[in-house]
Symmetry: C2
Subunit: 244 residues, 2 copies
């Protein structure tokens, strides 16, 4: 196994199972196990909620009990919102998926148990697990939707496994302009401002420096320097045209 396995114990709503499949697919997970879904399986409503993550739903395996669903795994996490007084290691999502990454890299099969929408996992089911995962929720409003809980684990798995690579970055499409181009832009700007007596007598040096700092902060690309230079020219020319 190359990823953790998501195991839903007696999920009730087909829509939730579909949203779980979607959340898994968003972060590259695909192995889903269902322990006796309350309303049977397969079930209408799941596919539309999965909005495209059909491969996860169709690959889902059915089991009668949580014990059977984890029989082939080496390490199992149980998710719970509340303390159960069990003497187990307790992880947050990030630490749990860091642990999972290490174990999966070492060839272990890792699973995550999620309980029923209303009542969660039973204590006997939690006692099947090696460790507990809980979420850093606001104690005043701690009930996470099932698909939301699966999403957070999938998100943290993706970050642990791939470093959370973004689909695109903010790298400049064109490189920062060469200093000479920037300085000549400053010269041009200051000359045009001089021509309209923008600078009060003797204030020019300080005012020019301050304005250079504004534009330096932009770290302009070549294209941006050309764009701004064009805008200044348009303002200056336009003025000259207005007074013939």
């Amino acid at each position: 196994m190359t990823h953790p396995i998501i195991i839903l114990v007696e999920p009730q709503l087909a829509e939730n199972i579909g949203m779980v499949a979607r959340a898994m697919a968003n972060f590259g997970l695909s192995e889903l196990r269902l322990v006796s879904p309350r309303n049977g399986w397969p079930k209408k409503g799941a596919h539309s909620a999965a909005s495209g993550a059909v491969h996860v739903l169709e690959g889902a395996k059915l089991y009668d009990t949580a014990r059977e669903a984890i029989a082939d795994l080496n390490y199992v996490f149980a998710t719970t919102a509340r303390e159960r007084g069990q003497m187990k290691r307790v992880f947050g999502p990030e630490a749990a998926m860091g642990e999972a990454k290490g174990r999966i890299s070492a060839g272990q099969g890792v699973g995550i148990l999620f309980g029923r929408e209303r009542t969660g996992l039973e204590n006997d089911e939690i006692s099947l697990a090696d460790a507990i995962v809980t979420f850093p929720v606001d104690p005043k409003f701690s009930s996470l939707n099932l698909a939301q809980a699966v999403l957070l684990m999938s998100y943290e798995w993706n970050r642990a496994a791939t470093g959370g690579v973004l689909p695109f970055t903010g790298e400049m499409l064109s490189p920062p302009a060469p200093r000479e181009m920037v300085v000549s832009f400053f010269d041009y700007l200051e000359a045009e401002l001089d021509a309209v007596n923008f600078y009060p007598a003797d204030k020019k040096p300080i005012m020019a420096r301050n304005m250079r700092d504004i534009f330096h902060r932009l770290a302009m690309s070549e294209q941006e320097v050309r764009t701004l230079r064009g805008a200044i020219r348009a303002l200056a020319e336009g003025r000259r045209l207005r007074k013939p």
Copy 2:
């Protein structure tokens, strides 16, 4: 403002707005702004989907345009799944909320724009923002549900703001047993095993050490030592009873 503001631009489904409110409340966010919801507002279906996060829904403010919804803010993130060719800084959720934490601590108002369920934000709306946030999704399945996107930002805000404190920890309810108690447990166990000739001649020292290592790995609490000692006694006594 002490938290980032969640701004939904033309959300379509009341259920999604409700699930957004729930996701926000899970991680301590409460300020929600709605830009002309497609089917009007307030709308049935939102409350049940919020499953208790009514304070967020009832505090939601309505605006006609994204521009009006962010007018009072100092720094705005725009969320998008795809590159828009805009020359903006691009953040992942964790880095974005780290940035938000610093700005909010400095007294700035920070908002996060989320687009329509199907089409996301328009380029003109994104151009209102200071920076872009995108998610480390699987490129093959990158469409996040609206409430899921809000959940990830809320989760990362909570982690940036509070360090992601868990509702409970795995600290031992009773401290690790004193070494003397552990060693006397070993003596008792080995004596009982001797009594039933468990150890082959001359193998006892190595076998005893290996078994001690198993139990050392448990880092047993006092209660656990008592429990195991009782179990061993029961096995031994039972045996004696069986052969009178």
